[in-house]
């Protein structure tokens, strides 16, 4: 899978860093860069299950292209959402469905890609892909 330029440079930036503490710090900073879903728009319907944090995501099409907005009370989760935005926003929904979540691994972030009920990142990513699928079908 070839990543969009913006994601590529984020991956490069992260993978240059050796210390996981620093990497988390960077992610913490990315948290502010997410296409934010304001707290007022958080609802049970857009809540991501299986996160330890309270995390929400909203997805829509603009001119047939996919866009997500996200918000979470944990900054690192929100940082991962910001990175995910780089991966998915502005793409065809059909592309979004096919994206592998491996970019977090490439960034050296131990988000752990194990399918498990409590894997926040993976649950978030799957939710985004499900929404993309729904949007595609609805078109």
């Amino acid at each position: 899978m070839s990543w969009p330029e913006a994601l590529k440079s984020a991956i490069d930036e992260f993978s240059d860093v050796f210390d996981p503490m620093e990497r988390y710090e960077m992610l913490f900073e990315w948290a502010s860069e997410v296409n934010e879903l304001p707290v007022e728009e958080w609802s049970e319907a857009n809540r991501i299950h299986g996160c330890q944090s309270d995390a929400h995501v909203e997805c829509h099409l603009e001119n047939g292209l996919f866009y997500m907005r996200g918000g979470a009370d944990a900054q690192i989760v929100q940082g991962l959402m910001a990175i995910t935005c780089l991966a998915v926003n502005g793409r065809e929904p059909s592309e979004v469905i096919d994206i592998e979540p491996s970019f977090v691994d490439e960034m050296g972030i131990k988000a752990s890609l194990t399918p498990s009920r409590s894997n926040g990142f993976l649950n978030m990513f799957k939710r985004v892909q499900e929404e993309a699928k729904l949007l595609m079908e609805r078109e």
Partner: protein
């Protein structure tokens, strides 16, 4: 390509053990439990030495590693059994898997007057839970007898018993006779009659590559320790439909969604039935066993094991005073051969064989009704597995002949 049994043997450390005054161990009690290859032992050791942590709901490195190993084990096993992770519930073995069907599914989905079919060939694990449920719920149990001439289930009675049956419970391969039942036919007939089907695959899974999706059963119960895996683990394969129909059985941590003092709500899928800290190392070891088997040609494995049983049955039949139970002329079936001598007590015979280095089992094999049908209370039983050799089978026959000559008079 036939199995490279020498190479296989070198994977199992216990096979170099000496017993009974320096004799080579000839392990022929595989239907009770199989030995473990180094890779299975190592998988567990390495988990404990490198990654041990409780799984789920923690973000630290070890917990993430342990969770990944545990959940990957589920993937590996689901894959091996031809199903998905959402259809595999970890249990402590076949017994708990069947109990889970009885307590978790049957108890809430069957009502007084409904019929459950079991067979005379069943292991106690597939009899007693149904008797307890029948007593509690007023469920009718219909028993399919075995035709002891032909060593097969009476399929006419089975057919006649189907109307009104809600669940058919049948052992895939008998742990006493080594006989395989006509499972596809049984499943088709049961499905046509609108019944669910539970297959006890404790003896079949070790030398068949079961494919849950193709099989068409609703439930399949499996033990890890009988297929190169560790003790304390097994699984229930169940269709999504049935999993959704199941009520919680064991309850506690990890199987809930929310808990308040007033009311709890439950997780969905397999997790709903996996309360408490999971059998983490065991799941990892079980998956390592599936990985070990996946490197072999399972048709060859079956052929090899069954071949040893056929050979042995054929040879000991001609030993004076020996009666062999079960039909060993057919290719289907397992590595099990049950027999008795007409004057040497089964336990004495087992001790004499042990004195020669041969590990075999004696007793009712947790299948008293089946033995009753044959009019005996115990049998001697040898059971072969993938690491046994033709030389071992022949040595067994020779030692048996010697014992019979000496004490069978």
């Amino acid at each position: 390509m036939p199995l490279d049994v020498d190479a296989i043997r070198s994977d199992f450390p216990i096979l170099s053990r000496k017993v009974s005054g320096g004799k080579d161990l000839v392990y022929l009690d595989n239907a009770a439990t199989t030995q473990k290859p180094q890779s299975v032992i190592d998988a567990m050791t390495s988990y404990y030495e490198q990654s041990n942590a409780n799984v789920h709901r923690a973000v630290h490195t070890l917990a993430a590693e342990a969770t990944e190993m545990y959940e990957n084990a589920r993937n590996t096993l689901a894959d091996w059994f031809g199903t998905t992770r959402d259809n595999l519930i970890f249990t402590s073995g076949t017994t708990e898997a069947i109990n889970l069907v009885a307590w978790g599914w049957a108890r809430s989905n069957l009502k007084s007057g409904d019929a459950v079919i079991i067979t005379e060939m069943e292991h106690h694990a597939d009899i007693v839970p149904w008797q307890l449920l029948a007593e509690e719920k007023g469920i009718e149990i219909r028993v399919i007898p075995i035709n002891t001439e032909k060593d097969i289930l009476d399929m006419d009675i089975f057919e006649a018993s189907l109307p009104g049956a809600k669940l058919v419970c049948v052992v895939h391969t008998s742990n006493v006779l080594g006989v395989a039942n006509p499972i596809p036919e049984i499943i088709n007939m049961a499905k046509d009659a609108g019944s669910k089907v539970l297959i006890d695959a404790a003896q079949a899974a070790p030398h068949h590559r079961l494919n849950f999706s193709n099989l068409g059963a609703d439930f399949v119960a499996i033990s890890g320790h009988k297929m190169c895996g560790p003790t304390g683990i097994g699984c229930l394969l169940a269709t999504s439909e049935c999993i959704e129909q199941m009520e919680p059985f064991m309850s506690g941590g990890d199987m809930i969604e929310t808990v308040t003092m007033e009311k709890s709500t439950f997780a969905s899928g397999p997790q709903k039935f996996e309360a408490g800290t999971p059998k983490i190392a065991e799941a990892i070891g079980f998956a390592a066993a599936a990985e070990y088997l996946s490197k072999l040609d399972m048709d060859e494995v079956h052929h090899h094991i069954r071949g040893l049983a056929k050979l042995t049955a054929e040879k000991i039949k001609s030993v004076q005073g020996i009666t062999v139970y079960g039909d060993h002329s057919v290719d289907e079936g397992s590595g099990v051969v049950s027999f008795l001598h007409d004057s040497i007590h089964a336990e004495d015979l087992a001790r004499f064989m042990d004195a020669g280095g041969f590990a075999m089992r004696t007793g009712h094999h947790c299948a008293q009704p089946l033995l009753d049908a044959y009019g005996v209370s115990s049998t001697n039983r040898v059971s072969f597995y993938l690491y046994n050799t033709e030389d071992e089978a022949n040595a067994f026959v020779d030692h048996l002949r010697y014992v019979v000559e000496k004490f069978g008079g």
